[in-house]
């Protein structure tokens, strides 16, 4: 059983990690992240990079949907905005990647604010549909503003360079993606120790009550949209550096649904949930692929037959979690931890 966690003051109560054990685990995790490229193959690192990019975007959506209670199906389109900004800056200006990513984040945030503008009047599902409209319109812009976005054939961009060396292979881009993801995650976790974060939660729980308490709804809702799209923009920028080709088809509506599914499966309104959800949803298709790989020697058409299964599993996971574990993987994780905390006593 865990002992010695008595809180002596409010600062300790608000701390990101309550115990030294937790801090220890966190350091171990970061050490593992640093050691990873030296221990695993390109494909594993490739997957990790993809997972990290998805984590950034999922966390962004979680701020908006999980913490502020505003449903958005525009996350992929916001990523697209970030990706295009990064590509255009890299192609035409050749500015350093960090600057490009920050500009991408702010650009996406601006678009997010514009999309969020109706959110004061339009609520719930109507808002979700409005964000679908936004992604359709953005898709049209990507596909038809040919002089800037390259039209339907999109843009190919040079790799990011870091002190003269180009970041091409997954294990090189990893050094850009991993630290940025970690920083963005700490940022998100800290956000909910501030007034802004608490205002978001108040709005989610009951927006009218929040307004009565003196929280200016429009301002905070737009702020939530802005922060969420900032995350999406940076994720999109990382995506662009990772794949180095952006087409209007790169950011379909299905991708927005994927992020929403990730926070549902992971756990809405929990930073850990967003992380777990992104990891889980990215890895499930991989596991299925591996199963196909195992089956293919005895059943060569397995790959063709198992593929629709992947679509079914995607949908079934959403349904399953919503019906049986609405709090998501984060809740399962908490249950496991509680079991160990109470271990010798509750058997």
């Amino acid at each position: 059983m865990r002992i010695g966690t008595a809180k002596e003051n409010y600062i300790a109560d608000e701390a990101l990690f309550d115990t030294n054990v937790q801090r220890g685990w966190m350091i171990a995790l970061i050490a593992a992240l640093i050691a990873l490229p030296f221990l695993s193959g390109q494909y594993a690192i490739y997957l990790v990079c993809l997972v990290l990019i998805n984590i950034v975007s999922t966390t962004g959506l979680n701020i908006l949907t999980g913490f502020t209670g505003l449903v958005s199906l525009g996350q992929a389109a916001f990523m697209g905005v970030g990706a295009y900004i990064v590509a255009i800056m890299e192609i035409h200006l050749g500015t350093p990647f960090l600057l490009n990513l920050i500009v991408a984040g702010f650009g996406a945030a601006l678009v997010g604010i514009i999309v969020g503008l109706p959110s004061l009047r339009v609520k719930g599902l109507y808002l979700a549909i409005a964000t679908i409209a936004a992604s359709v319109i953005l898709h049209f812009v990507f596909a038809n503003w040919t002089s800037v976005t390259g039209g339907v054939s999109g843009l190919s961009m040079p790799p990011a360079s870091f002190f003269g060396s180009e970041l091409i292979q997954p294990d090189q881009v990893y050094w850009m993606i991993m630290p940025i993801t970690v920083i963005m995650l700490f940022g998100a976790a800290n956000l909910f120790r501030t007034r802004i974060g608490r205002a978001f939660i108040a709005i989610r729980d009951r927006d009218i009550s929040a307004e009565v308490l003196g929280i200016r709804l429009l301002r905070y809702k737009l702020m939530s949209f802005a922060i969420s799209s900032f995350y999406a923009g940076v994720a999109g920028g990382l995506w662009a550096y990772f794949f180095r080709v952006i087409t209007p088809e790169s950011f379909p509506l299905l991708m927005s649904i994927f992020f929403l599914a990730a926070i549902i499966v992971g756990g809405m309104g929990s930073i850990l949930g967003g992380i777990l959800g992104a990891v889980f949803m990215t890895m499930v298709p991989e596991v299925l692929k591996m199963m196909v790989g195992v089956l293919s020697p005895i059943w060569p058409d397995a790959v063709a037959v198992m593929s629709p299964v992947r679509i079914i599993v995607f949908g079934a996971l959403i349904i399953f979690f919503l019906i049986f574990e609405p709090e998501g993987l984060a809740e399962i994780w908490r249950k496991i931890r509680r079991f160990f905390h109470l271990w010798p006593f509750k058997t």
Partner: protein, 390 residues
């Protein structure tokens, strides 16, 4: 699942058992890996399934004949759902687990994405489902091979056919609003001008659009003698034709490679009679003297195989041939050497997959034939001779 499908799986399983036992006695030379990002699901799954079958069979035939100069050819596919990021993931996965020399990509966007990476790795050549005109440029895309004519060349073949049949004809082009659909538009305009044809109508259709009657009305206004469809597999071509016929238009309709598959054209129903399409290959059922490969395909698969199958099959043959040339010359298997091996291919007898001996020019194999759908036979039948472009 139908009985025939189950039967297919069972036979497939049996075949693979045969493969495994055969592999035991294979030579100790290094395997040559043919990786593939194959769209087995998603919007292009129709083609992906055929391509997969075609490559699988071609690889088996090559290995049964002793492989490529004694090296066994190994095909490693991954499903991509026709998404670029999934294709890149598949590429990374396959290349990190195998020493890949040959690759099959599923889309133009993917080919463009991965091309710099392939150049950098410098040890492989990529072919694929894309006949994009942009890729047909050995300077810009040195390690890409197109197993047929580019889309621009395809529309070129059709326009040439038109110019011969009816000089000065009015031609319309209907394309889908995708990268694939827009590909040949500029090229086709230029070719039409050169040939003295009047391209008076270009229509783009939104993906997922259901009703095409407004587009048909436009065709009715413009009254083109010919309309070329590009960027579709099936829908909305039949609807266009049905409505145009109902209006009494005498327009002739044509399609490019991916809308010329026989089973797809058959699904169009009666209006398909007279539909013209361009294909670089023979059909599964084509009758031709001295076509050992076609016979082999027919003995391996007793039902009709799509033109995607032929595409996958032909891609594999060519890639193997290019590799063989490189190995024969005693060169190391690098991208440049395999590509050089591919470009050496001259008057290559495909055993009936293509009716004439073929040569590689630039990045592509600019050959094709116009086929016409014959309703009484329920088959696409040749409407022209084999056309070699230069």
């Amino acid at each position: 699942m139908t009985i025939s499908k189950i039967a297919k799986h069972v036979t497939g399983a049996l075949l693979s058992v045969g493969l495994i036992s055969g592999a035991a006695q294979a030579s100790d030379k290094k395997d040559i890996v043919f990786g593939g990002s194959i769209p087995l699901t998603g919007v292009f799954a129709f083609a992906g399934v055929g391509i997969h079958a075609g490559i699988t069979d071609a690889v088996k035939i090559i290995n049964d004949e002793g492989g490529i100069e004694g090296h066994k050819l190994v095909y490693v596919p991954e499903d991509t759902a026709y998404k670029v990021d999934a294709s890149v993931a598949a590429f990374n996965k396959i290349t990190s687990q195998h020493d890949v020399n040959l690759y099959y990509g599923d889309s133009t966007a993917f080919s463009k994405t991965i091309s710099p990476e392939i150049n950098r790795l410098g040890k492989m050549v990529m072919t694929g489902a894309s006949f994009a005109s942009e890729l047909d440029d050995p300077e810009k895309f040195p390690n890409i091979f197109i197993p047929g004519p580019s889309y621009t060349d395809m529309t070129g073949i059709l326009l040439n056919h038109i110019a011969k049949e009816k000089p000065g004809a009015k031609v319309g082009l209907v394309h889908s609003e995708t990268e694939f659909g827009r590909d040949p538009v500029e090229g086709a305009k230029a070719t039409a001008k050169e040939l003295g044809l009047d391209m008076n109508l270009i229509i783009s259709t939104a993906p997922g659009g259901v009703d095409v009657s407004t587009e048909v009305l436009k065709i009715r206004r413009a009254r083109p003698d010919y309309v070329i469809f590009h960027g579709y597999v099936l829908a909305p071509i039949p609807e266009f034709m049905t409505q145009a016929r109902a209006m009494g238009l005498k327009t002739k309709f044509m399609g490019t490679f991916w809308s010329t598959d026989n089973s797809m054209v058959s699904k169009m129903g009666e209006v398909a009679d007279g539909f013209l399409g361009v294909m670089p290959y023979n059909y599964y059922y084509s009758e031709q003297e001295n076509a050992p490969m076609l016979d082999k395909i027919r003995s391996m698969r007793d039902t009709y195989q799509s033109n995607a199958y032929m595409q996958g099959f032909f891609s594999t043959m060519m890639m193997a041939e290019g590799t063989r040339n490189a190995l024969k010359a005693g060169k190391e298997l690098t991208g440049a050497n395999i590509k050089a091996g591919l470009q050496e291919i001259k008057d290559f007898d495909t055993g009936g997959v293509i009716g004439v001996p073929v040569s590689v020019k630039g990045n592509s194999v600019p050959v094709g034939r116009v086929y016409r759908y014959d309703l009484s036979k329920k088959q696409m039948v040749p409407a022209s001779d084999w056309i070699l472009l230069d």
